[in-house]
Symmetry: C2
């Protein structure tokens, strides 16, 4: 009789959830700051809604961790430095960059967390993550607004480069975090591999960029 | 046969909801900015949760207005200037001030909107407003943290003055908004009067300040 793979330990699961929690809190801060760049109330309200969705995600993960007897602040601590450094390297400088970052950046983050979800029966990080734009109209708003900004070909080119830079920065930051937390990385990846994950991220990023007209 | 008071018109109701919507969006911006002053992750998460609750309130009012065929952006526009001016006059300069503002300021805003709720059978602004700290642990967190800051008597005195200044600024801003929108003011007040409302606000503010040890 063979034993099934016991899967990641409780400690490792909590480590992954800590990364997801701080990712959500950092995304809240980014989106809330970007909301202030909005040229009008409609745009400000769109980013405020996205920011609130990140807080809701944070709260779900916090409650899940609490149910395991783990304090969310302790679980997040190991990821603060790397994710803050990533945020500092990817701070939008104007409204167009903020919209592109919100549109493609969130997809990248969510895809990463969902990567290993089929490898594992226990409800884990993936189930605490909702798809971007779940129930909100942000995608349509961003597509419309970025298209309007891109009538200026210089803006189109600049935002295209920005979107590609975001992919590069994300993969670099993800590599660093996965290297620093090998057990969590293996729990996150499940039955997939890092190159396969990165390939999937690149492919989805290209589709999202195309949907934005970039 | 006498006709019952028809109550405020649909236009006036939408005006009140516009003020509530922008109040919530402005509160989101304030709390999100204050979250960045937090000295630790726990405090940052507390204010992020409050900010998200304001966004949820904004979304409920937005949806209610949409159901009446009114765009939330149009409804908010008349209140932007006055509420932004209020926000600029009451920007916290440190973490203690941010906590006191979140603790007493939200009570004031919510009490104001709830003022006329018994005067009216139709679900209106009051029903779209939840009590502060509904389901979150913010009140307890703020009381604990402010008490710890107030072991320094200079901080205690300064935060006490700050809390009282917030009351004054709130009543002054409320007077201005009520004067500028008489029909909405009368819909908001319902069967109460402005002096009675302000008296109730002062009394509740005193209780909240006491609960904070100020």
């Amino acid at each position: 009789m063979t034993h099934p793979d016991p899967g990641p330990t409780a400690e490792v699961r909590s480590e992954v959830l800590g990364a997801v929690a701080y990712g959500a809190l950092a995304a809240f801060s980014r989106l809330a700051a970007d909301a202030r760049r909005a040229p009008d109330l409609a745009g400000r309200a769109e980013l405020a809604s996205l920011a609130a969705a990140e807080t809701a995600r944070f709260e779900r993960v916090r409650d899940e961790l609490a149910g395991r007897g783990v304090d969310v602040v302790d679980a997040m601590a190991p990821f603060v430095h790397a994710l803050d450094a990533f945020a500092a390297r990817t701070t939008p400088t104007d409204w167009g960059e903020a919209l592109v970052a919100a549109y493609v950046g969130r997809t990248l983050a969510v895809d990463m967390v969902l990567a290993g979800r089929h490898s594992d029966d226990e409800p884990a990080a993936g189930d605490l993550v909702d798809r971007p734009d779940a129930g909100t109209g942000f995608d349509a708003y961003a597509e419309r607004t970025v298209a309007a900004l891109c009538v200026d070909p210089r803006v189109h080119d600049r935002l295209g480069l920005w979107g590609r830079r975001l992919l590069g920065e994300t993969l670099a930051a993800a590599s660093k975090v996965l290297d620093a937390h090998p057990a969590a990385a293996s729990a996150l990846l499940g039955t997939t591999t890092r190159p396969a994950l990165f390939k999937a991220l690149k492919s989805r990023h290209a589709k999202r960029m195309q949907a934005l007209g970039l």
